[in-house]
């Protein structure tokens, strides 16, 4: 499955639009990460635990989105966008959405 965050895919032609597909996930950080983060706040630097959390959430949201696209019979998702929102302190939502399309190799147009 081809996934891009551009509206068109160079070298391919969109032959059918299947519709909007989306995936979301709400994840909380576990207490150990919070404690580690408090220490990091003294000396500064990357919070690896939180970066991992974002990576995992993003993977999960994209997977759910791709699952929907597959069900619709699409072979690509274009113009993918991500948004996040803080649900409460300690949990964040990651939402991925895009347009499921059927692509065929060939010039645009």
């Amino acid at each position: 499955m081809i996934v891009t965050n551009t509206e068109t895919v160079a070298g391919y032609r969109i032959v059918e639009i299947k519709g909007l597909v989306q995936g979301n996930t709400v994840r909380a950080k576990h207490a150990g990460r919070d404690i580690a983060a408090s220490f990091k706040n003294l000396v500064g630097g990357e919070l690896k635990g939180y970066t991992e959390l974002l990576t995992e959430s993003r993977r999960q949201a994209v997977e759910r989105m791709l699952g929907q696209a597959e069900q619709l019979g699409a072979n690509a998702v274009v113009n993918v966008r991500f948004t996040t929102s803080a649900v409460t302190a300690g949990a964040a939502e990651l939402y991925a959405y895009g347009t499921a399309v059927v692509l065929q190799p060939g010039r645009d147009g």
């Binding site: 509206e7 706040n41 970066t51 959390l53 996040t84 302190a89 964040a92």
Partner: protein
Amino acid sequence: MLDLIIGIGTPLVLLALGWFVGRSREKRHFQELDRREQLCQDMLVTQLKSFPSYVFGEKPPRMLVGEAVIATDYLKSFLAGLRNIFGGEVLSYETMIVRARREATLRILEQAQREGYNAICNLRLETADIGGSGVSNGNRKNQKVMSAILASATAYNAAQSP
């Protein structure tokens, strides 16, 4: 008396920790970013949706994502607190956000390079609120100052058209 020593001493130790450890860590991170950006120099990076006058190779494009969360140190949050009284530019937080942004972008570039792509288009950067500072939790003291950046882009195999 002991209370007073602990009361004044602890923040002083933490400030010193921020001054010595935090500053050197930040300097090292910036040096590392410079070095890694040098390695990715021949990559074509734009936030255009397509490349006029470029042709794309056989390899199908792929969306790449990168994220980085960078925390500030105690000294910087202290200085930023002072800045809050007088107003003006908060330089100490600026470098924190710059670090997160460059790190997230570099992660995309390095991944693209590993997978054999040579061009990145439609690079998008956005901030994520994972510390919950956008939600009123009535507990401002426990708030951690950090900057989380989500980057996404589409990697292509491109060549200058003849």
